[in-house]
């Protein structure tokens, strides 16, 4: 009797599953197979449709060769990777937010009076600013009121409000968010530039008053900071090599993360591309020899790619940081001259060089309070309190508690977040490009996903667009394999 029951229930079960299966077949499986086939044809909506009977031509790999030899494809691929440079910061931001939010509940009773006073001061200040005519457009008043209200309600309600607020970007419709950010980035009327303008005016006064510091001192400081970072990084690589924690490939990758900014710096200073490339190569080879000459400890053979995941992850933090310091070195000497006419806030979305960073900033804002934060919150709640108690008994500092307990315990969550972030990063950029910039200026915000849309649905070249989509898939697949191969070593 029992053995027959499952079979009798099968039709019912299938009936329940049918809508999902049909949906999967119709909207995922069939388009997937079709797009793979289409990538090898010259399917063009304008020539192959219900009104025209031109035969479809099988073009083998023509779409792929056209794509890979097209300079714009490389530009758009570069844009996609550039926008992904913000991922480590987004991951770090969501971890920071999760850490803060996990402490709100615990710390609330201690800080409640202080928060209450801060909230009251903020609310009164905002009101006074409004009365004084400070906020012409009302936007700063709006922001001030919102911040004050958040603080007050947060004090009363506990951490729940903050968690909701942080998560807000994630359940707000993307397009609405992008339209809002577009308004915020408005070069003259947007609140960002309206807020920046007085600060830049103050900075300009400051620069004019201390031209020597800004022209020489600041670039020197940036240079020293960059050199210290490079020195720390090379020493760290040497130690990793000595301990067999890093193989040859990992060391090379690690050195590249400081060598590339060196090359970029020279190029920004007006040196030729050849010189910049030579300097990059030299920055890899010279310390590489210094590290590589050291004897192998215990005669233990190294795996060439050991530690590669760590170096790539670190490079994602180091490269932007060193590029930022390089930018200070390049821009600094010219600052006093620029400040004589007053410093202007950037034309965020309208300037070729600022458009991508503008989008990165917005993505960072959205990513901090995203699902990543929720995952980290869940991860934090799963860490056994005994570990912290043991650490406390051993006299561990907050920093030691974080690096030796929290961070390793969160490794599986971080690994998952990294994998998903890389996948989303490669596939992303469409909505914001469509809503905010139309891929411009001069293609600076066109990512591969927007390129697929524009080729497929604006240009109508379905075959070509499918080829781009499959190249993107190969990239996602390749990077995910890389992550699994080198990233999950730290998980256990």
């Amino acid at each position: 009797m029992r053995s027959k029951q499952p079979w009798r229930k099968l039709p019912i079960a299938l009936l329940f599953l049918l809508p999902n299966i049909l949906g999967f077949i119709a909207f995922i499986l069939v388009p997937l197979v079709m797009s793979f086939g289409m990538a090898f044809t010259d399917w063009d909506l304008l020539r192959h449709n219900i009104f025209r009977d031109e035969p479809l031509r099988f073009v083998w790999f023509e779409n792929f060769t056209t794509l890979l030899t097209h300079p714009r494809f490389w530009q758009f691929l570069g844009n996609t990777f550039f926008l992904m440079l913000g991922l480590p910061f987004a991951v770090a931001g969501s971890l920071g937010a999760a850490l803060l939010l996990s402490r709100v509940g615990q710390a609330q009773h201690r800080f409640k009076p202080a928060l209450g006073v801060a909230a009251a001061v903020m609310a009164v200040s905002t009101f006074m600013l409004l009365r004084g005519g400070m906020s012409e457009g009302g936007l700063w008043f709006l922001f001030g009121t919102m911040a004050a209200t958040s603080l007050v309600v947060g004090v009363v309600s506990g951490g729940t409000l903050y968690r909701t607020l942080f998560y807000l970007p994630n359940f707000t419709a993307g397009v609405a968010t992008y339209v809002l950010w577009k308004k915020m980035y408005h070069p003259t009327l947007g609140p960002i530039n309206q807020g920046l303008q007085p600060m830049l005016e103050g900075l300009a006064d400051w620069v004019r008053g201390m031209p020597g510091f800004f022209a020489i001192g600041l670039p020197m400081l940036a240079c020293v900071a960059a050199l210290l970072i490079v020195w720390w990084h090379v020493r760290r690589l040497r130690n990793a090599w000595d301990l067999s924690d890093a193989g040859m490939i990992a060391v090379t990758a690690g050195l590249l993360s400081v060598a590339v900014p060196v090359g970029m710096l020279l190029w920004w200073f007006g040196y030729s591309v050849q010189t910049a490339v030579l300097a990059t190569v030299a920055t890899v080879i010279v310390p590489g020899i210094w590290i590589g000459r050291r004897p192998q400890p215990w005669g233990k053979p190294r795996e060439a790619d050991k530690g590669l995941g760590t170096e790539v992850a670190l490079a994602l933090l180091l490269v932007p940081l060193l590029l930022l310091l390089s930018a200070v070195m390049v821009v600094g000497p010219g600052l006093p001259v620029a400040a004589t006419a007053g410093l202007e806030p950037p034309n965020w979305l309208g300037d070729f060089h600022w458009a991508k960073p503008s989008i990165m900033i917005m993505v960072l804002w959205a990513a901090i309070g995203s699902n990543n934060m929720v995952l980290y919150l869940a991860g934090l709640s799963n860490i056994s309190p005994e570990l912290y108690e043991a650490a406390d008994m051993d006299g561990a500092t907050s920093s030691q508690r974080f690096w030796h307990i929290t961070w390793p315990q969160l490794a599986p969550v971080t690994f998952f977040i990294c994998i998903m972030s890389v996948i989303h990063g490669l596939q992303g950029g469409f909505e914001m490009a469509r809503t905010m910039t139309q891929g411009g200026p001069a293609g600076s915000t066109t990512t591969l996903s927007y390129f697929i849309f524009s080729e497929g649905f604006q240009t109508g070249r379905l075959g070509y667009a499918s080829a781009v989509a499959w190249v993107l898939f190969a990239l996602v697949f390749g990077l995910s394999l890389f992550n699994f191969r080198y990233g999950n070593r730290h998980v256990d």
Binding site: I12, L15, F16, D42, D44, L45, L46, R47, N49, I50, F51, R52, K182, K183, Y185, H186, P187, T188, L189, Q197, G342, E344, N347, L349, G350, D351, F352, H353, A355, T437, Q438, G440, P441, A442, G443, S444, S454, E455, F457, Q458, T459, G460
Partner: protein, 495 residues
């Protein structure tokens, strides 16, 4: 669970049935005609007048419904090619070849001749807009000729002399710089511009250059004259800041549309001194309150010209109601419709004779506008030239071909990525590469290309010899007008 499943199934089935029975077609006995256009007062009035007109003509009643949810060109194309396009749809500027080459337009050449809405009923400059390879695909709904609008109060505020009706690039630069400097004192952020946008084609034409050659078989922008235009664009936009960049313009309009209300608001306030826009600006400016206006020609550099093109209505090939759809095109030629265009302040009426009507020249109660209307009736027909569009490359596929390449190149010049001298070479290479790719895929197109290339060789030879060129050899509307003005056109008696 079974019951729950059945309930859900029943509810969904009922909802589907409800949706079907509440569809407009089910609500009326009459055929329902869908028209993709904006849903504004003028269009709603058009619907009313069309219904009245059909009744007077003794034609069976139809219900004309406005569909403004699918205005996006991508949607029009996608729906059309999926077999569910609207019966009639607005077509703008460069979209003609796009829809024609896809095959979704109804070819109305013969029926238009029979029923009286062939190209002879409208401006000659529009032949290229409504026809592709000699076949007609629609009829103009209005006629657009962008001119320079002047806010006289803005000029008076800063004591800047107004430009004359016909002016040169140098005058534009001089007056524009004076305005921008006066309106944006040193040490303040720029809030005022001289003009909100400019188009490169009229500037090239001012120097006797078109994007395509005479037979439109090739792009010919690798030319010092194009470099000069790009240099001016760069200087005016980046150095002198007379014109905002495209992104700044989009920000000015706030909604992302070039013709959005932001520009009109700033123009009305005098924050933008002049505006490059067709006559429909009246629709936006009138409700904002009285303002002292003038309209003049766009600046030139030897050959005064202005763009003259149409927004027209095409008929979907798979329409269920061809008679009603075609009758709408006939309606566009009527006095009733043309008067509606005139009175609404929209662009110029599609039928030329109405330009000289009293209603157009001297609208009642709008005496201040009479000199402006007189200018519109005179300028566009005299120096307006249709768009140059090659049959070998889509002008706007949708953003990726000619217009897409052009805007990407101009963007790159303004961003300092490429030099003005390189811009023409890059644009020419990219457009000609697209042409080569298109003719390789399409044998019919290749045959036409070979024929016209042979004609082009003969034209080049005549040009080298300094001899006039027969008009019938030329397909580019710019060269027809330009050579005629230069005395280089050989016209037979019939042309």
């Amino acid at each position: 669970m079974k019951k729950f499943f059945l309930i859900v199934f029943a509810v969904l089935s009922l909802a589907s049935a409800g949706l079907y029975w509440t569809a407009p077609e089910q609500q009326t006995e009459m055929p329902v005609l869908y028209w993709i256009t904006q849903n504004d007062e003028t269009k709603r009035e058009t619907v009313r007048l069309f219904t009245e007109w059909r009744k007077e003509q003794g034609l069976p009643p139809v219900e004309l419904k406005i569909d403004n949810a699918n205005l996006d060109v991508t949607k029009k194309l996608a729906h059309g090619l999926a077999g569910v396009g609207a019966d009639i749809f607005d077509t703008y500027l460069y979209q003609t070849e796009l829809f024609a080459s896809s095959g979704m337009y109804m070819d109305i050449t013969e029926i238009a001749k029979e029923q009286g809405f062939s190209p002879v009923e409208t401006f000659p400059a529009f032949r290229g807009d409504i026809m592709v390879n000699g076949r007609q695909y629609g009829f103009p709904r209005n006629a657009g000729a962008p001119v320079i609008w002047i806010n006289r109060e803005a000029f008076a505020r800063y004591g800047i002399p107004e430009p004359p009706e016909r002016w040169t690039w140098d005058e534009f630069e001089k007056i524009g710089t004076a305005f921008v400097n006066a309106a944006n004192p040193p040490g303040t952020r720029q809030r005022s511009y001289f003009v909100q946008m400019l188009r490169p084609d009229i500037f090239r034409r001012g120097l006797g250059l078109s994007i395509f050659n005479e037979t439109m078989t090739a792009c010919v922008l690798d030319d010092p004259r194009n470099a000069e235009v790009m240099r001016r664009f760069y200087r005016w936009t980046t150095e002198l800041r007379l014109v905002p960049t495209l992104a700044e313009t989009l920000n000015l309009t706030a909604g992302g549309e070039m013709a959005g209300s932001g520009v009109f608001y700033l123009f009305h306030k005098g924050q933008i001194a002049t505006m490059y826009i067709p006559r429909y600006a009246f629709i936006r400016l009138r409700p904002m309150g009285k303002i002292d206006l003038r309209v003049i020609e766009p600046p030139h550099s030897g050959f005064p010209n202005m763009a003259f093109s149409t927004g027209f209505i095409g008929v979907y090939k798979k329409t269920k109601h061809p008679e009603a759809a075609l009758s709408f095109l006939k309606f566009l030629t009527t006095e009733r419709f043309n008067m509606l265009v005139i009175n609404s302040g929209d662009s110029l009426p599609p039928v030329p004779k109405f330009l000289s009507s009293e209603a157009f020249l001297r609208p009642v109660g709008l005496e201040d506008e009479w000199p402006l209307q007189e200018f519109f009736s005179r300028a566009a027909p005299s120096i307006g030239i249709g768009l140059s569009r090659s049959p070998f490359i889509l002008s706007e596929r949708i953003y990726q071909q000619v217009t897409g390449i052009e805007s990407a190149v101009i963007d790159s010049v303004l961003a300092g990525q490429i030099s003005p001298e390189d811009a023409g070479r890059i644009e020419e290479e990219r457009i000609n590469a697209e042409i080569a790719s298109n003719i390789e895929k399409d044998p019919k197109l290749r045959a036409l290309y070979e024929k016209l290339t042979a004609v082009q060789q003969k034209i080049d030879q005549r040009k080298a010899e300094g001899r006039p060129i027969p008009a019938e050899w030329i397909t580019n509307p710019f060269h027809l007008t330009y050579y005629k003005a230069q005395g280089m056109l050989e016209e037979d008696d019939n042309s």
